[in-house]
C-alpha cells in the first residue's frame, strides 16, 4: 500500500482510539497538515482497498475494523472505554487490537436474552457460547455491513 495512504490510515486509526470515536476528515486533516478534501480522497481509496469502510451517503467513517463508528449490538469495554464492534468477531477483535482484556455485551439474536462475558488473556470466560457466520468468506466484502 502506498505510503501516503498508510500515513492517513494509521493516523485515522490512532485518532479513533485516542478519541474513542471516529475522527472527522477535518480532524484528521488538522493533524496531518492536509485539507479535509484530501483526507476524504485518501479515505475513498482506503475504502476501495477494504482498509476502512465509509458511509456512502456522507463519506464519514462507518467502520475502522474492528471498530464501528456507529452503535451496534456488540458493546465492548476495554482500555477504559466502551466501544462498538461491527459484529461478534470484531468485538473480540477490539480486545485483540487494543491488546487488552475486556468485557463484551450483546444479546442472543434468537431469543433476545442478554449475553455478557469477559475476555481475559485472550480467553472468553463463557465457553458455551457459539459464533455463527451466515455469509461464506468468498462473499464477506460483497456487503460488509450485512456480513
Amino acid at each position: 500500500m502506498d505510503a501516503d495512504l498508510l500515513e492517513v490510515r494509521n493516523l485515522t486509526y490512532r485518532m479513533f482510539v485516542e478519541l474513542g470515536r471516529a475522527p472527522s476528515a477535518e480532524e484528521v486533516a488538522g493533524a496531518a497538515d492536509r485539507t479535509g478534501a484530501e483526507v476524504e480522497s485518501v479515505w475513498r481509496e482506503l475504502h476501495r482497498a477494504h482498509a476502512l469502510v465509509l458511509n456512502p451517503a456522507t463519506n464519514e467513517i462507518r467502520m475502522a475494523n474492528p471498530f464501528s463508528a456507529v452503535p451496534t449490538a456488540y458493546r465492548v469495554q476495554a482500555a477504559g472505554r466502551w466501544w462498538y464492534g461491527n459484529c461478534a468477531w470484531d468485538a473480540l477483535g477490539i480486545c485483540a487490537a487494543l491488546r487488552t482484556d475486556g468485557r463484551i455485551e450483546t444479546h442472543c439474536p434468537d431469543c433476545g436474552q442478554a449475553i455478557a462475558f469477559e475476555v481475559r488473556g485472550q480467553r472468553p470466560d463463557d465457553e458455551l457460547l457459539l459464533f455463527h457466520c451466515l455469509v461464506p468468506a468468498a462473499h464477506w466484502w460483497d456487503d460488509i455491513v450485512f456480513t
Binding site: 498508510l6 482497498a49 477494504h50 470484531d90 434468537d110 485472550q122 457459539l130 459464533f131 466484502w141
Partner: protein, 69 residues
Amino acid sequence: MNLFRSEEHVERWVGRRDPGATITVAKLSELAHAWWSDRLAPDWQPAPRERNQAILDELGLTGDFWRLP
C-alpha cells in the same frame, strides 16, 4: 456474525436460510486475535489474501465456506 446461547438457538435463528458455519467462542477469540492484533501497529500493512487464508487454515477453518476470494 453473531453470538448465540446454544446450537438450538442458532438453528432456530437460521431457519430456512443457508446454514452458514458455527464455531465456539473460544475458537472465535483465537481467530480474532490472529486476525486483528496488528491493526493498531505503526508498521501495519494490509494482509495479503494468502496470510489471511493461512490464519483460517491454521485454526482448522477449512472447506469452501472459509475460502477467501
